[in-house]
């Protein structure tokens, strides 16, 4: 059999923000780069990011700086973020945003002509660079066009625009390959034809995004099937803290066809309020003690904050996402929800119609065209939707190198550690840029010092056999039905509120589906066959779900994006522990690993009374690790 073969220095899997930023960096370091995307170029889920990109440029409030951003990030993640990732992110985010401007990005401006910044949940100052509510689109388009700029440069120099960087669109990777314990490349198929492709490359950057499709109600597109998480596990890498999933508090709940689609947090940042079916602005009841000094406990003060942020506390609608999601969940479960199982989010009473259309154009558009709701006149019905996975590949913070697999790198949502137990809105877009760049740079350094690592024929044969298998089976399981069953299990048993008994049941049921999935058969041919594509996506989602359920049962506390009804509060012991998932070829195993202690200079950025809410007296007495 002859298969299509390609040879590159760096292979980037995923063409969202992190992947493209990594590709730019590796190419600018002089390497030949292949970018693989499951869909068309420029369609990655990054386009969905609405609110903005958090960077402490201080354009709107000059009190902002990286230290404040670092503190907000650690606080938002309930002190479970890897301190070094949060530090690098806070320090480098402004440069990454300004850099985009030199590539042609056009952010909204302040009166002085600087990049405008908006308020967002958990951020102390206005910090999110934005373009209306389509910031993700601006990021991806800017980088897509930067890639084209690099290709044009290569074209001028070599006569071939694709000589240095080539995009392989609509291609799925089924295996990451290793030889002698190090990365050697990847194997996959063209979605269009089903034909198989081998990529030989000594460095692979995984930038595949999230896992939302494991769940029933999600803001993620079909691509969010945890491919990178599963590929990394199978290649011998670890996943860290997969129990932490962010349920975005405000997804659309009506009509059913748009269930799960996101309503950006900017709606609340611009003055939207949450009410239940009694008309009560309920968020005042849900301000946790740790946030009492930062959030207003009465409507008058909350309303004043929009005009005077220095002398008033913030409205509780802007609490971190996990708090708002749980509050909505409680309201609905207590019978105070809307007819369709959500709560009301209203901007129409506070903001003039023209301002809404100007500040939140895509939201207005989305509700008007998809749901027939005019948000300038009536309230939206919203509720929690699976939005983001904080857990991910365990990486070295400085290089984004996957722990334990030389030549493998991971950046963006697929990487773990940066956001701890809960991500702040706006931190994702700058996470992509900061760590995408670091992954690309480190991959380049790795390739220059390690050189080629050819793929063996045995590895190719094994990878090819796996792709053919579902076609050779007849009358087996249907991948669509198995996927739907998995989503029911995760939704009902591994959702926002969890218990040990339900998680145990989930683990058993996921294992059962996994066993049945070995017998998936596919009808039709190889050519653009979604049933065939889903068979591979399903395998990835099952591994992710197993890792999530097993990490969740192990963590006996409630923190950020992990709430246990049977262990309802934070536990100091668990603040010091990461759950590490690994794969032994049959099943996911979990072990506990100590979280690195925060060094003295970062420790001292916090008020000691705040740290007392999260840390043990012994930790505080030590005052940091050095």
């Amino acid at each position: 059999m002859t298969i299509e073969r390609h040879n590159y220095d760096v292979l980037v899997i995923g063409a969202g923000g992190a992947g493209l930023r990594a590709a730019v960096e590796a190419r600018e370091a002089g390497l030949r780069v292949a970018i693989i995307c499951k869909s068309l170029f420029g369609k990655a889920h990054t386009v969905m990011a609405e609110g903005g990109a958090a960077a402490s440029m201080g354009n709107v409030n000059d009190k902002d700086n990286w230290q404040v951003h670092f503190r907000d990030t650690m606080r938002g993640g309930k002190f479970l973020s890897h301190f070094r990732m949060a530090e690098l992110h806070a320090k480098e985010a402004p440069d990454r945003i300004w850099e985009l401007e030199t590539w042609g990005a056009l952010f909204d401006r302040t009166k002085e002509g600087k990049i405008s910044q908006r308020n967002f949940g958990g951020h102390e100052y206005p910090r999110l660079a934005h373009v209306g509510d389509r910031t993700g689109l601006e990021l991806i388009r800017t980088m897509q066009q930067k890639i084209v700029a690099l290709q044009q440069k290569d074209g001028r120099e070599t006569g071939d625009m694709e000589s240095g960087i080539k995009v392989f669109a609509e291609l799925t990777v089924t295996d990451i390959l290793k030889e002698n314990g190090k990365i050697s490349g990847a194997y996959g198929y063209w979605r269009e034809t089903g034909a198989e492709v081998l990529f030989e490359a000594p460095a692979v950057v995984i930038a595949t995004g999230g896992v939302g499709k494991t769940f029933k109600i999600t803001s993620n597109s079909w691509e969010g099937t945890g491919d990178g998480h599963a590929l990394a596990l199978k290649a011998g890498a670890n996943l860290v803290d997969m129990e932490f999933l962010q349920f975005h508090p405000t997804g659309m709940v009506w009509p059913p066809s748009v269930r799960g689609i996101l309503v950006t947090e900017s709606v609340r940042g611009e003055g939207g309020v949450l009410t239940n079916n009694l008309g009560e602005r309920f968020m005042f009841k849900y301000i946790p003690d740790v946030f009492k000094d930062k959030y207003a406990d009465n409507e008058a003060e909350a309303d004043r904050w929009y005009e005077d942020q220095d002398n008033n506390r913030r409205p509780p609608e802007l609490l971190p996402r996990d708090e708002v999601a749980r509050a909505i969940n409680t309201e609905v479960k207590s019978g105070r929800g809307t007819e369709h199982g959500g709560v009301f989010l209203d901007v129409s009473k506070r903001i003039p119609a023209e301002t809404i259309k100007k500040r939140l154009p895509s939201m207005w558009h989305q509700f008007y065209e998809l749901a027939g709701v005019d948000i300038t006149k009536e309230a939206m019905e919203v509720g929690p939707t699976c939005h983001y996975v904080m857990g991910g590949v365990e990486v070295d913070p400085d290089t984004a190198a996957a722990v334990g697999v030389p030549g493998l790198f991971a950046a963006g949502e697929v990487a773990g550690g940066m956001h701890g137990s809960n991500r702040l809105g706006g931190n994702s877009l700058t996470d992509l840029l900061v760590f995408g760049r670091r992954a690309g740079a480190a991959a380049a350094v790795y390739v220059k010092s390690n050189g080629k690592n050819p793929v063996s024929e045995a590895a190719v044969t094994a990878a090819a056999a796996k792709i053919q298998a579902p076609f050779d089976r007849e009358g087996g399981e249907n991948s669509y039905s198995l996927h739907a069953e998995l989503q029911e299990i995760t939704h009902n048993l591994v959702g926002i509120i969890r218990t040990g008994t339900e998680l145990k049941e989930a683990i058993e049921k996921i294992a059962e589906i996994r066993a049945r999935s070995a017998n998936v058969s596919v009808s039709g041919g190889r050519k653009f066959n979604p049933g065939f594509h889903l068979a591979f996506d399903l395998d990835n989602m099952l591994l992710v779900a197993e890792s999530t359920a097993k990490s969740a049962i192990n963590r006996e506390e409630s923190r950020g994006g992990h709430t246990r009804d049977d262990f309802p509060v934070m536990n100091d012991k668990w603040r010091q522990i990461n759950n590490i998932s690994s794969f032994d070829g049959n099943k996911v195993n979990i072990r506990e690993q100590a979280l690195p202690a925060i060094p003295k200079e970062l420790f001292e950025l916090f008020d000691i009374h705040e740290l007392e809410k999260y840390m043990t007296p012994e930790e505080i007495a030590k005052g940091g690790s050095n």
Binding site: K43, M48, T102, L106, R109, E112, E192, P256, S257, S523
Partner: protein, 252 residues
Amino acid sequence: MARNIKLRIWRGDATDGGLKDVVVEANEGEVVLDVIHRVQATQMGDLAVRWNCKAGKCGSCSMEINGKPRLACMTQVASFGEEETITVTPLRAFPIIKDLVTDVSFNYKKAMEVPAYEHPQELAPGQARMQQVDVERSQEFRKCIECFLCQDVCHVVRDHEENKKSFAGPRFFIRIAELDMHPLDMLKNRKKTAQEEHGLGMCNITKCCTEVCPEHIRITDNAIIPMKERVVDIKYDPARWLGSKIRRREGL
């Protein structure tokens, strides 16, 4: 309330194909992409359709619905009559791969032909100052989600394969206009090259592109016509021609 609707789907590939009738359940509030997915999950497991976000933001599920280029995720089933058959076919201007999926690589080739943004060398990162009113003109064009419906509907290429070589299409006219109106872009002569290299002159302003744009970008009025007018100005007014050579930037 669920009801059964009649759907007619084009199935086949580059060599052969035709319309297939199916009856499928539709629920209240659903869009055409929802019912196509239901057909896929229950009746035609290998039905090919491109989609991503299902929220009108990525521009992947472009197809022709009752002959009109549209996003399937933004087309409500309820917008058709109860007894009406909804016919879905692949984009006509591009080669068919399979079923509702076409080969849109033409657009990516054209994207590579538009010279990239050039940032002023003296302006370090973070130093740029632009007024909102000045960035808004380009921002309108940067709303483009690259669904390529405008490319599909444009009659210059819709039934004229031979024109594709010399015609970039509305999507890339707005890309050129965006760069041309970008307050900082340093590359000169964008309007002139739009005319001479990207086929702007072949457009005869029928506004079909504007009509199908799901982002409501005023492609013809705000991008194509201003560029055409300026091309005329630059080409035939000697004083302005001279001015464009003397001034640092071409921007008018």
